[in-house]
Structures are given as structure tokens and as C-alpha cells.
């Protein structure tokens, strides 16, 4: 678990220190991509906790969701419909649901442990 957080810190510091910038017109796409990535991440954590984690689903979902979200936003810009709102809505709702499920699982695990300790 700590290794994954190290990965996050490494990515953040690499991005901040190298001062990479993308053209401001593409900032919208990147923000949606970040949202999609976060959604996939929490979906993966949830699946792992529920013991249904599948490596292929996780990795393919990550890249596919990012591309789909950015593509939807791109299409929306060219059609004059704010399609990126659809992506934000879908990912936002799923993000909350996933986090809620993770919280429940962790809570039930914690109470189980506690009751086991008390019975002992």
C-alpha cells in the first residue's frame, strides 16, 4: 500500500518539478481525464476490497475511460453540445458511490475486528 502512495508522490513531484505545461485549450480534456482516472482508481480499490479485482479490467478500464471521456469532450466541443458534462456527471456519481462502498466495507471490517477482540 505504501508503495502505491510512493508512486503517487513520485508522479506529483515529477510533474511539478519538471514544470510541464499543456496548451490551455487542452486543459479541459486533461481535467476530465484526471476525473476518469480517479474514478477507475476508486473502482479498483473497491473491487479489491470486495475480492472481485481483475487486473485486466482495471488496467483496460483506466485507459479506456480516460480516452472515452476526452473523446466525448472533444466531440462535444465540435458539436456545440457540452458533452463533457455527461462525463463529469457519470464519473462524479460513480466516484461518490465507490467511495461510499469502500467506507462501508472498511467500517464493517473494523467493527468485526473490534467484536472479535472483545469476545477474546
Amino acid at each position: 500500500m505504501w508503495l502505491s502512495i510512493l508512486g503517487l508522490i513520485l508522479g506529483l513531484s515529477l510533474g511539478l518539478l519538471t514544470d510541464i505545461r499543456i496548451p490551455p485549450e487542452y486543459a479541459n480534456y486533461l481535467s476530465i481525464a484526471v476525473l476518469a482516472a480517479l474514478d477507475t482508481l476508486f473502482g479498483g480499490i473497491r473491487a479489491h476490497l470486495q475480492q472481485v479485482y481483475d487486473d485486466k479490467v482495471f488496467v483496460s478500464g483506466f485507459f479506456f475511460n480516460i480516452l472515452l471521456a476526452a473523446g466525448l469532450a472533444f466531440l462535444g466541443v465540435h458539436l456545440g453540445v457540452d458533452l463533457y458534462l455527461a462525463a463529469i456527471f457519470a464519473f462524479g456519481v460513480r466516484l461518490f458511490q465507490n467511495i461510499a462502498v469502500i467506507r462501508r466495507i472498511l467500517l464493517s471490517k473494523w467493527t468485526e475486528k473490534k467484536s472479535v477482540r472483545e469476545s477474546v
Binding site: L8, L16, A37
Partner: protein
Amino acid sequence: MKKKVISRFTMILFVIGLMTAIQFNTVNEPDSRDTRDVWEIRQELAREKQLHSELLSEIGTLDETLSKYEKAANDSPEQVLKETVEVLRQDAGLTEITGPGLEVHIEPSQEAIVTGQNIEQISPALLIRFVNEINRFKGIELSIDGKRVINTSPIRDINGRTAINGKPIGTPPFKMKIAAGTLDNAEKLSNHLKASPILDNFYIDNLSVNVMEPQEEITVEGYDGELELEYLEAAEEE
């Protein structure tokens, strides 16, 4: 198996971190960057230096006045005050000024006379442009058809006639008198006006501009109206 999961999560988190950092960098880019090149900065510096020297010379003049006051405080304070008032009236354009300068004659163009066209009045827009052109030179006093142009003089159309200070100016020909302070300045102004592209604009309106040779003595009339300063108030004492 467990190791594989952790390595996957690490990879994904690395990508997320990288994307977030890039997005952060992009969004936090400063809005306006200083894009002036060296030359523009030099010009800015030159402007500020000029302002600096102007302020210094003003301080010098004020110091001089102050020492005059102090010297004359014992014998005749009114005399110094009167002198100051006179200088201020002169600066405001309330007094007649005599000095080196030049005359500019605005006349109907030859073509208009020959073809018998109606001579229209000069338009306010053209006159304003011309006055602005003259005002490129500092320290000059100007009167148009006997009306002194001061800082607050309006040039505008009143009931179909071009007016300065609320009084209409005549149809061409009429004279403009310009006092330039020194003969040298008058020479420069004369040359500048002769070469100025604004003369072409007069030609479109069937007018021609004759810039006369600079003279040693020229008299510019004083402003004869009341100065109305509605929105100016004396500053409170600190």
C-alpha cells in the same frame, strides 16, 4: 498475486499524479506575462527619467519662490505674492503674451476659389486634430481667430458653427497665432507643421494652410472668459 496488484496500483497512481501535476501547472499559469523587449523597457525608463527631471526642475522653481518669499518677508510680502499671481495667471492663459512665434493662416484653397465652390467652415474634428498636432510641442500658447486656447477650452460644434470657448470662429480665411517661447522653437514648429501630413486633411475640406515664417514678436490674446472649475476643490490641510 498481491505484488502484482500493488505494482498495478502504483503505476496507475503515478500516472494520476503526473496528470494532476500537469493540470495544476497549466491552470496556475500566470495570466499576463511581461513581454516587453529591451527596447520597450529602455523607452519606459527614458520616460520615467524625463518625468524625474521635470519634477526636479519644478522643485527648483518652487524652492526659488520660497527663498524669494523669505527674503521679501520683511520688506514687501505683497509684491512677491502679486508676482506669483501674475505668473499663475500667465500659466493659466489669462494674460496676453508677446514673444517669438509664428502665424498660421487658414484659407480657402485655390481650387475651391477657381471652381467657385462654397467655402465651408472648418470642422471641429479637423481643428482638434490640428491643435493636437501643435500641442506636440511643449510650452506654446495658441489663439485661433482671436480666441485663446487654454487647457479647458472646448472646440465643438454649437448650432452648426465651430466654436472655441463657446464663441464661433469665422469662416476661412482666419489666423492662428502661436507663441513658441523662443525663436528656435518657433522655427521647429514651423518646419514640423509644413511637413505634417495633416495638411492633406485640410485639402480634402477645400482649405489650405499657410504656415508663415517665424517672427520675433507675436502677440497672443489672453483668455477673456470666466474660468469655471466646478469639480476642483482646494485640498484639505494635512
